[in-house]
């Protein structure tokens, strides 16, 4: 059976530092758009950290939640695409074929997680910032939707290596850029079709849950809810 790539994010570890956000920029050639376009909500961040306040001063609690493409199994973004640019890969990823995309933006409207980004302009890197571009990831042009790929270039590279060595991909061998840089080890990536993978085992946690699960998109990212301190609070 093909791999089914998924992720577990432990919200009890996540500190909202956004190392994942910048790691993703670097890995995936995400262009900055500048202040003016950012003010028009055109900044691109394939992964973002949402912040929720609860309560009023002084009893304030805050929660952070990294949100990226949930790589849904029943993805609302896929059936709406008239050109099959959004499609489901054999390994369970929500693929995006840039050369097929004609920019209808139906997929972005259909996505309940708001993780698809449209290129309103050709991306621009002031020279010589272009030298930092990752040659393994294509640069998206004007009129094209883009989104998190689970760092498919890293998945493909690991699978190719494993095939050359006549073995299967080892659990933990593939790390998307966000997972790799996370300073608290809040994110775990792995094969959900393997019940023994670390991601599968963690996804079974009693703290586990899916984002907006009631919508039925069957996302492949499991969030482990924040824990509470269970020490003797009346000591």
């Amino acid at each position: 059976m093909a791999h089914q790539w998924g992720m577990v994010i432990d919200l009890d570890r996540c500190t909202g530092c956004e190392a994942c956000v910048v790691a993703c920029h670097a890995e995936n050639n995400i262009a900055t758009v500048g202040e003016k376009e950012a003010a028009r909500s055109r900044a691109n961040h394939w992964i973002r950290v949402e912040r929720y306040y609860e309560g009023d001063f002084p009893d304030v609690k805050v929660k952070f939640m990294p949100v990226l493409c949930q790589q849904c199994d029943a993805a609302p973004c896929e059936p709406v695409c008239p050109t099959f640019a959004s499609y489901h890969t054999e390994e369970g990823l929500n693929g995006q074929v840039y050369n097929r995309c004609i920019g209808t933006r139906y997929c972005a409207n259909a996505c309940p997680y708001n993780v698809r980004f449209f290129n309103f302009y050709n991306p621009k890197w002031d020279k010589p910032l272009n030298l930092q571009l990752n040659p393994d990831v294509s640069v998206r042009e004007v009129g094209v939707m883009e989104k998190c790929t689970f760092c498919v270039q890293r998945i493909k590279a690991a699978e190719t290596n494993a095939r050359a060595e006549k073995r299967d991909v080892r659990d933990g061998e593939i790390q998307p850029a966000c997972v790799q840089s996370c300073p608290t080890n809040a994110m775990v990536f792995g094969d959900l079709s393997d019940p023994n993978s670390r991601a599968s085992r963690m996804a079974a946690s009693s703290r586990g849950g899916k984002l907006l699960e009631e919508l039925g998109a069957r996302p492949k990212i499991t969030y482990l809810q924040r824990d509470t301190w269970n020490g003797d609070e009346n000591a």
Binding site: D12, G16, A19, E35, H45, R48, L129
Partner: protein, 760 residues
């Protein structure tokens, strides 16, 4: 002539002939002969060291072959060269263990920044006008040499001052030794977040002149007094690793984390309990907890040892800090203080951290000494999960006449004063890595002093508010292009000496600062050449590693050469796991000598009713990273703001003053005013306003110039008593709405609310 040189010349002349024939050179760049052997499409990983903050994390640089436009000998052309594509944490490095913070990732953009200084520059207009002309290294060195040798031989009046960001290992040794060769010279280290207060307090309490190293993964109870230890304070990646393990790394055991601070930081946002307290009351709070521990016989006064004895009234149980007595001044309920003391006592190892604003009040030293005493009383100081100290490697230093060393903001203030009173008292000012014209209060008038100084030379990679005053700019390599060596004094309990050769070739006509100093030392000859015998920086680092091998030995290396090459391969040398912290070094303070000190504030309460809390920006840090577009466009974790500054206000305060979200607000102290849009948030006390540090640059690349506001500029010139650090949390301000403003927020969010969270 070597074969390679011959080929280069023929390539250049051949291509130049073609160019003449073909018109536009933009499309017909000549190709230089590559200097490296790289396989197209294959990535290699080279170690390096992150220099974005003082933590000193280890890097792996992904290097791939690519075509870069470069200028060589005045000729623009294309060169196939190794290019840095991505920075990762070095998994072998004991501090960050393969992890990296957002600022670390953006270090890549320093190397490829479009506004980097590409050649040596000489001032061609008036001081501070920003007009420079490109010159050759020969000219630059001659010019600097003329001035320095006149100064050295007494033909010019004044002293040499070397003003730098804090340096470590051989880079520091070369800089201090070089400065020390000049008579009556001064070596000043300056950065806005210098941990000077924490160092001074740890010297007195624990006799360690360093920030603490805490294995948070072993802690069960963390009390943080304002320290943004998951964001920017001390060694944030090492601390984040420990924090993750503290939360979910031990089956069935999850530690508690509690944060005292008047404005919720990104770190405070992760606390199980966030407790706002009055600004400057942190020391009293710590002693209140200590009082309960002693009063309720949970710990004995004597168990705290020297760190406790320092505090006046310690042996008598600190009766004046009883929770009900300090409740009013701290703003924390007596019952809460008592409960926290009992929780901490029952859930060891417990640790208390202090940093950022809590240590930047005028009584910051008292606050920090009080927290140190609390740590000692909790019984985990020196133990796993408590306050510990890293063993530190310092290169041997045999300089004969040392420069007078100073550090902290106070040293910069005195420098400005000195130039102001007699411009010729500073014959040459060398500046490296620091931007004090941005990062000191305008009240110090440093800029006016810089206009008067006879000679200013900068090693900066960018024109900034300080280097714009330079007469000469001798641009340093970027860290990825340079040899790097680092010996951090916190973050790991193993001795860490990082080293790495250049990961990529220099893109521009730059030289490593230590190489320039060594070159100058050889030209000056005499004692300089004797004290700095190395021809190049890497030779100096190699000598340091030879000394390290001799002193520490190694199981994996049979010879010094093996040791040196192993270190280069893995990105450094780390001591054994069981390395205990080095012996105590600080001076022993007298017992009972630390008396209660209340925080003092500049500006009276009736006219200036609000405390101004500047804070370190998660992305821009102290402003030095504002030039990097990734950092400008990464949303701030607490506000999602990008590309600007804002003023955080409590909703009650805002409604009382008629201020709405994004309204333009003027924040005025006795020393000046700044304007920024309002950000209304529940996580701030009603009598406090907070502003991120980092923006408000006037001259700092196309991405940072004329953007946002710099709260440092309106700070009161107050110091933390007993130290040379700026009391940057001691300013009172008034605020008023002045018009419509604009916030740039990253608005994207879920299309529906998750059922268990309310979003604002």
């Amino acid at each position: 002539m070597q074969r390679r040189d011959f080929l280069k010349i023929t390539a250049i002349s051949g291509a130049a002939a073609t160019l003449d024939a073909c018109g536009s050179p933009d499309h017909q760049l000549i190709r230089f002969i590559p200097e490296e052997d790289l396989i197209p499409g294959i990535a290699t990983w080279k170690p390096s060291v992150c220099t974005m903050c003082a933590a000193g994390c280890g890097l792996l640089v992904r290097v791939m072959e690519g075509d870069a436009e470069v200028v060589r000998n005045g000729q623009l052309g294309l060169m196939q060269m190794g290019l840095a594509k991505k920075l990762e944490g070095n998994p072998a490095h004991p501090i960050n263990q393969g992890k990296l913070c957002p600022r670390g990732h953006a270090g890549l953009q320093v190397t490829y920044h479009p506004d980097r200084i590409r050649t040596p520059l000489m001032r061609s207009g008036a001081r501070g006008s920003g007009e420079f002309k490109a010159i050759s290294w020969d000219e630059a060195m001659q010019h600097l040499m003329a001035q320095l040798s006149s100064l050295h031989e007494g033909r010019l009046p004044g002293r040499l001052v070397f003003l730098t960001s804090p340096l470590r290992a051989q880079r520091r040794n070369i800089a201090t030794t070089f400065a020390g060769g000049f008579k009556d010279s001064q070596y000043i280290e300056f950065s806005f977040f210098d941990e000077g207060v924490v160092r001074a307090a740890n010297s007195a309490s624990f006799r360690h002149d360093a920030p603490p190293t805490v294995e948070l993964g072993q802690s069960n109870y963390i009390i943080s007094f304002g320290a943004n230890f998951l964001g920017t304070w001390n060694s944030p990646v090492a601390q984040s690793l420990g924090y993750g393990a503290m939360r979910q790394g031990r089956a069935g055991l999850r530690g508690k984390f509690l944060q005292f601070e008047p404005r919720i930081s990104q770190t405070g946002a992760n606390a199980d309990e966030w407790v706002p307290c009055a600004p400057g009351s942190e020391g009293a709070l710590a002693l209140g907890i200590a009082h309960v521990l002693m009063q309720d016989k949970l710990r004995s006064a004597a168990s705290a040892g020297a760190a406790g004895e320092l505090i006046e009234g310690w042996a008598q149980g600190l009766a004046e800090y009883a929770p009900e007595k300090i409740s009013a001044q701290t703003g924390v309920k007596a019952a809460t203080i008592t409960r926290i003391a009992h929780e901490a006592a029952a859930n060891g190892p417990a640790v208390a951290l202090i940093g950022d604003a809590a240590a930047a009040h005028t009584n910051g030293l008292f606050n920090t000494l009080a927290v140190n005493a609390l740590n000692a009383l909790l019984g985990s100081a020196g133990k796993a999960g408590g306050i510990q100290f890293s063993p530190v490697w310092n290169p041997s230093n045999d300089k004969t006449a040392g420069a007078q060393e100073a550090s902290g903001a106070e040293a910069v203030r005195k420098l400005a004063e000195q130039i102001e009173s007699n411009a010729n008292s500073v014959g040459a000012l060398l500046i490296h890595g620091a931007n004090p014209a941005f990062a000191t209060p305008a009240a110090w008038k440093l800029r006016r002093a810089l206009e008067k100084a006879p000679l200013i030379a900068s090693f900066g990679s960018f024109i900034d508010e300080t280097s714009i005053f330079a007469d000469l700019i001798l641009p340093d390599h970027s860290p990825l292009e340079s040899w790097v060596e680092d010996a951090p004094d916190s973050g790991s309990l193993r001795t860490v000496v990082s080293v790495a050769p250049p990961a990529v070739l220099p893109l521009h006509d730059t030289r490593a600062m230590p190489d320039v100093l060594l070159d100058l030392a050889h030209r000056l000859g005499g004692n300089f050449a004797k004290a700095l015998p190395w021809k190049t920086y890497d030779e100096a680092i190699q000598a340091d590693f030879a000394a390290l091998y001799k002193s520490k030995g190694s199981k994996d290396a049979k010879t010094t050469d093996d040791f040196w090459s192993n270190a280069q391969q893995q990105g450094g040398w780390w001591g054994p796991q069981e390395d205990a912290a080095q012996g105590a070094t600080g001076a022993k303070a007298a017992s009972g000598s630390v008396k209660y000190a209340a925080a003092e504030f500049d500006g009276n309460q009736s006219e200036f009713p609000f405390h101004l809390m500047p804070f370190a920006s998660q992305m821009l840090y102290d402003g030095s990273l504002a030039a990097l577009p990734w950092m400008q466009e990464a949303p701030d974790p607490m506000s999602t703001a990008m590309w600007g500054t804002w003023v955080e206000l409590n909703p009650a305060t805002a409604s009382k003053l008629g201020i709405k979200q994004a309204d333009l607000v003027e924040v005025a102290s006795r020393h000046g005013s700044v304007q920024a849009p309002a950000m209304i948030t529940p996580g701030i006390a009603p009598d406090v306003v907070a502003m991120p540090i980092g923006q408000g640059h006037e001259n700092f690349t196309r991405y940072a110039s004329n953007r946002g506001a710099n709260p440092i500029s309106i700070l009161a010139p107050m110091t933390v008593a007993g130290t040379d650090s700026l009391a940057w949390a001691a300013t009172r301000v008034k605020i008023a709405r002045v018009g419509e403003g604009k916030l740039v927020l990253f608005g994207a969010s879920l299309r529906e609310e998750p059922p268990d969270a309310k979003r604002r």
